[in-house]
């Protein structure tokens, strides 16, 4: 970390190599396609590069990465949305819960089994805030408190976003006619 902050290009490259999979995975979960995932990941690492002198330890950078990724994802989405779009605020939460992405899920999501494909498309269509929180909880295994800390949000907000995401995915199961457990 110190070497990268000191201008050692190979140290910065090694740092990117250590973190790029996490960043790319989050960016892909958010964007659903390689083109946008790469753009988001590029933006993240440029920001990291410009801010290296703020971090003494790599652990500080790791926790900060989630926030940079979130901001990059949100900026990326904001550029594609009408002005005034906000991802997390209370006032917009109901709208987020009730408004799916207008774009259809990317074709690249349609892999694996039929149910997996249906659910992947459903995840891709989750509103931005829900998708990020769901991804961080479900795919990255972060606790709600960790997500809240990483994103700088209240834990209650994270909880509501996760609940809304899960609710929507359960609805997707019902709509797809999937029978599970006692419903079978």
């Amino acid at each position: 970390m110190a070497r990268a902050a000191g201008g050692d290009a190979s140290a910065f490259q090694a740092l990117v190599e250590r973190h790029r999979a996490l960043v790319y995975r989050l960016a892909w979960q958010f964007s659903g396609n390689h083109h946008d995932a790469e753009d988001i990941a590029q933006e993240v690492f440029v920001k990291v590069y410009r801010s290296l002198d703020r971090f003494r330890y790599e652990a500080q950078l790791t926790s900060w990465l989630y926030r940079i990724v979130m901001n990059a994802c949100i900026d990326h989405r904001r550029r594609q949305m009408p002005s005034g779009w906000t991802p997390f605020t209370d006032d917009t939460e109901l709208r987020l819960v009730n408004t799916p992405e207008e774009r259809p899920g990317p074709e690249t999501c349609a892999y694996g089994g039929e149910l997996g494909a249906v659910l992947s498309r459903a995840v891709a269509r989750l509103p931005a805030g829900q998708r990020l929180v769901f991804t961080m909880r479900h795919h990255e295994g972060l606790k709600l408190a960790e997500i809240a800390a990483a994103l700088g949000l209240a834990e209650g907000t994270v909880k509501r976003q996760l609940h809304a995401a899960v609710h929507r995915l359960r609805d997707t199961l019902s709509a797809a006619g999937v029978t599970t457990g006692e419903r079978a």
Binding site: F12, A21, R25, H34, E38, L52, G84, G113, H139
Partner: protein, 258 residues
């Protein structure tokens, strides 16, 4: 529709993810034994998890080839050097590196003298701050002058992110937690801004001193916004607008104001 109050609450999902405290978890387990709807919801979550777990994790560009990505990043970072911290600029030659180190030491020593002279109180805590990489000297040589300008630009560039974040938020929908990050950063940038403002005054760099002064006021107001309510954010935004801070910072960042 369901008669169960718990079905539409986050509890089922929190139970599923192991996020309930032990007492709540016990209550939920007991409830699940009685409530078929919640058991169904839990089963749905299990199905979601298993189905998604079978999907591949996409954590690399197609075919796992990072070479194009790394090339692009290298280009992007080298293009960023104009506004990046000195420490991230292109690799110096050994001679240049030694000159840079020597210049930094001279600047740092001058900075300590500057702080000590400007403040009768002990200067060590301020001088030790890592964000001021090379505080200004009172009688600058030409290279030191250039270094001061570069550092001022970099400081403004760092601060611009905070000011932009503050200026673009919608006060009607922004909650305190939403701009906590900017408030924290504002507090950490404040001392450095004050040092740069005073150093610019000392050097007769009126434009730089003026912008640093405006920035200082905005950062101070931001860091003191304990309630972080709508009025506080609006007050900060009014300050930014009235002082045309973003425009001034952009002009300075482009180098024409220095």
């Amino acid at each position: 529709m369901t008669a169960c109050d718990w079905f539409d609450s986050p509890r089922v999902a929190l139970y599923f993810y192991g996020e309930l405290d032990p007492a709540e978890r016990e209550r939920m387990a007991a409830h699940l034994r009685e409530c078929a709807e919640c058991r169904q919801a839990l089963e749905d979550l299990r199905v979601v998890r298993e189905a998604l777990a079978r999907q591949p994790r996409v954590d690399a560009p197609p075919a796992g080839d990072w070479s194009g990505f790394m090339r692009r990043l290298e280009l992007a970072t080298s293009a960023t050097t104009a506004s990046a911290p000195v420490s991230h600029r292109s690799r110096p030659t050994p001679v240049a590196a030694w000159i840079a180190i020597a210049a930094t030491l001279v600047l740092a020593a001058g900075g300590v003298l500057f702080v000590a002279r400007a403040r009768p109180t002990p200067a060590a805590p301020v001088a030790a701050r890592t964000t001021v990489t090379a505080p200004p000297v009172s009688r600058p040589s030409v290279p030191a002058e250039a270094a001061f300008k570069t550092l001022s630009e970099q400081h403004l560039e760092r601060s611009k992110l905070v000011v932009l974040g503050l200026a673009t938020r919608d006060p009607e929908t922004t909650r305190p937690a939403d701009w906590a990050y900017e408030r924290t950063l504002a507090g950490s940038l404040l001392t450095d801004t004050r040092l740069y403002r005073r150093a610019a005054q000392d050097r007769g760099l009126t434009n730089v001193a003026r912008v640093m002064g405006d920035l200082e006021v905005v950062l101070l107001e931001t860091s003191l916004s304990d309630h972080a309510d709508r009025e506080s954010l609006e007050r900060v935004q009014r300050l930014i607008r009235r002082r045309d801070l973003l425009v001034k910072m952009r002009v300075m960042g482009e180098g024409s104001g220095l």
